[in-house]
Amino acid sequence: MRLIKYFVSQLINNRSFSLLFILNLAIGLSSFVTLDVFKNSISTSINSKSKLLLGADFGLSSRQPLLDDKFNTAFDELKQPDAETSIVETFSMIAGPTGQSRLVQIKAIEEDFPFYGDITINKDNKNQVGVASRLQNAEIAWIYPELLIQLNVKIGEKIKIGQTEFVVKAIVENDSAEGITTSMAPRVYIGLKNLEKTQLIQFGSVAWYSKLYKIEYEDFDQLIDLKLDLKDKLSEPSLQIYTHKDVSEQTSRILKYLNDFLGLVSIAALFLSAIGGAFLFRSYLIKQIKPIGIYLSLGMTNKQVFLLQSLQLLMLGVISALLSLIFGFTLSPLLKVITQGLLPFELQTQLQTGTIYLILILGCVGSILIGAPILSQIYNIKPNILLRNQTTQFLKRNFGFWLSLFIGLVFLWALSVWQADSVNTGSLFTGLFILAGLLITGFAYSVLYLLKTFNLFKSLSFKWAVRDIVRLPFSSISIFLSIGLGMLLLNLIPQIKASINYELTMPKDSKLPSFFMFDIQEDQMNALKDITKKYNIDLVQTSPMVRARLKKINNKDFKDLQIDGENLNREQQRRQMSRNRGYNLSYRNGLGIGESIHKGTPLNEYDHSAMTGISLEKRFSERLDVKIGDVLLFDIQGVEVEGKIVNIRKVQWTTFQPNFFILFPDGVLNEAPKTYISSVPKISGKIKQDFQNSVVKTLPNVSIIDVTRLVKRIKGIIQQMSWALQFMTIICLLAGFLVLFSITNYQARQKSKDIALLKSLGGSFSLIRSFFNWQVLIVTVFSGLFGVLVCFILSYFLSMLLFDSKWIVELQTPILSVLGLILVSLLISYLATNKSLNIKASKLLND
């Protein structure tokens, strides 16, 4: 169409609009790209961490030896792995050269283990990568350092494993594949070929047989599909099939948090730029009403104008998309260089093809959708405005307005669902955003009403400012809404971040546990206290543990709740198992470390007169499907005890303290047979070793589990996550401020005509200035406060519903952002007013 050039020149002529609109959209899309890069980098990093933990991509484990041909045929039909390796793990008592014996975990590996990461060994006082093939050729072993003392053995000496003696060649300095679960015994690596010689594995042995696979995959879903297919094909209840991500519950939980949060940030950034864009486009199109009238009078149809204006938006959208892609391509390698060393993970600078397409689509469709509600008002324009000089009919909301608004919201919803990868989460995002829009509009109306009704200040400029705002309700509310929503989204991310960060807060290093101790008998407590006193150790959260079986829920046999029948599928079997399991109860008054009451009242001291209250952990209560007021009946070694649920507790898992699903108040279970568990805070080096030996010697039954490595590992992941949260938040803050800046800046520029008018009427400069200052002040103060207020409401729901975390009020960002908004807006307005004041009134009027 030959007419396009006129619309291009229209854009070029309205440079400030075009640039700000492009800037706006490009910021949104660039944040989207950046967040995508981050999301990929972090999940790759966490992925590779979980790969390191497993040492492979995929694995099978069973208590039964795994027969090769059976799996090979199954794999042949599904997906051929690139490499495989077998592992056998078992516990055994092994003896050192002096006859001192100790329980260890034997891990017999093949030469290509691990596929990812490595076992760093210390040999001849030098750290080096352990070469697993060396283990195969001779009877040699690598041992965990604590065994040097526990077995009284030196490097080069022999230890007896089963029937065979192995030479200790090295100690394991760092074991990337140590697994996320901790074991109660230190590990000894030997070659799988040599395991047979020990004669430990025979009928009546208990061992864990695993096959680990290296499988190249493009999409993680392929591994999940493979897992499900294999489950179907092999249908072996004793067989565990897992991907590297399954190895760690914490890792996957963190990934879910992060994914949801990143999705939220991406959507928030896009939504922000959509609001900014819509505001700019609205102001722009209002300016274009006259030219549009001319087009119409010259014989263009409304439809043609609509299409051509849409084409304009499309052009702006494409430019924005290209800009943000250029940003993605050129700046992210730069970002990589800058962040190297700062980031706990490597930035993946490769943009995924999917992202590129998505950005282009978002640029095109998004820009049209942003403008569509306003564009549809083009149909309101009649050519007779050229004769009549009235533009208000344009602002009437027609059917097209509501339809395109609806389509835009559906698009936002679809995008949210896609981003969050969940219909529920996506709907929650969208629903809350719509709610926010309604709330802010409602607030804005009530402020207009208040301003109309009450005369706050007597000054002339204030009265004028109020009159201007009140008399142009549509325009005022659209500014309130734009700035309010902008402030909301800008504040939402830091607010959510505060809640997640709270969940991820870890106690000080000195409070993190080194050991967990189990099976401490009541009469051993004094002996244990003596030992801890000797080593100057304060035990943390020593808790009694009573074994019980749940018999009835609300007087209904717990058995009734189970699925009966012989032919249970695996899932049912597992569920049955978890429902049958006895539970460990504990008792205490008050809350322990990292605990908070989610719902209900604290446990009262037991008063012997009424049924005792009990407290359940939140997730556990969900699994059991019980609520406050339900009565649980337990069988404790033949004695029945009943308790009514009075509260649901939340336990912050990052404290790494042992905790209990079910808690009784002190006084009910004190007589019941029990053992104690306790955790030992961080201790190091020699004391750690001596303390352990001392406990083993004096209290032989007490199990000590060393969790140092586990805690360290998870701490690393959490720190990485906190860092990522911080970075995302900064990106969102930047994007938010830029959008708000462009809105207020544009708003200020539009005032020049009013200024000229006031000037021509003889208004003094100071009067004109204070008139505009009042306007800016009223708009920014109220919309800023609305935004923050609605942000609190939204973040409350999001923390509760999506992130399952406690709602934490973070005040710093809201205060700073509202102040920043007001001051920056005043400054922008001051500069723009000054500029306009210095231009001759007649010139401004002529425009």
Partner: protein, 219 residues
């Protein structure tokens, strides 16, 4: 008859009350005639013009221009008709500010889908004496020059009828006269029918016939 209206009525709804801006106007204009519609501000003359140019639709009655009954046309047809058969000159010129003189004139041709756009537009501008101002933006032209561009734009499609709404109203006396001279000159040369809306009796007298409008009715 090049223009024929029958029982033309236009009613606006303003709040609760109805305002009848044009009442039972039936008029006829011969081909090549120059006619002025005169009346005071608020008399309904502007509404009548917007009805005649198809910028607004009549409530009842019919308008036939050059044998086409525009009151029976769809929006789409009306737009096309406007593009090809009607030229309008406004009091406020209504040029598109970001287009040059030449582009403003070309726009009209391109909307109508004509060939040889450049040449025709240049000729039209030559006709109004602006052949040296082709690449100037409206803001760089004087008021009189702006109105000349608007006239060039109105006549470039060689319409049968030229409508003009107070074309000299925004201009000083001398410039206004020159612009009016130009309009009459062109109409005469091209055999165009002219419908001039004005409140200026003296100006109205320059037309062959005067139609008085008061309270929406022809007197």
């Amino acid at each position: 008859m090049i223009i024929e209206t029958k029982q033309l009525n236009k009613t606006f709804v303003q709040g609760d009350s109805q305002i009848q801006a044009v009442k039972d106007v039936s008029m006829q204009v011969k081909d090549g005639e120059t006619i002025s519609i005169i009346g005071k501000s608020g008399s309904g003359k502007t509404t009548l013009l917007s009805l005649l140019t198809g910028l607004e639709q009549a409530t009842t009655g019919s308008i036939t221009l050059n044998g086409n009954t525009i009151t029976a046309m769809s929006e789409q047809e009306l737009a096309q008709y406007r593009a090809k058969e009607v030229g309008i000159v406004f009091q406020q010129f209504h040029l598109i500010p970001h287009l040059t003189a030449l582009e403003n004139v070309s726009l009209s041709l391109e909307i109508a889908g004509t060939d040889d756009v450049q040449e025709k537009a240049k000729n039209a501008l030559k006709l109004v004496g602006l052949e040296n101002r082709l690449d100037h933006l409206p803001s760089k032209l004087s008021g009189g020059e702006n109105q000349r561009v608007a006239i060039a734009r109105a006549i470039v499609n060689e319409p049968k009828i030229l409508f003009a709404d107070e074309p000299s109203g925004n201009l000083d006396l001398e410039t206004g006269k020159k612009v009016m001279d130009l309009i009459f000159d062109i109409c005469q040369k091209q055999g165009m029918t002219l419908v001039l809306v004005t409140h200026d009796q003296q100006l109205a007298q320059r037309c062959q016939r005067q139609v008085q409008i008061s309270n929406g009715q022809m007197i």
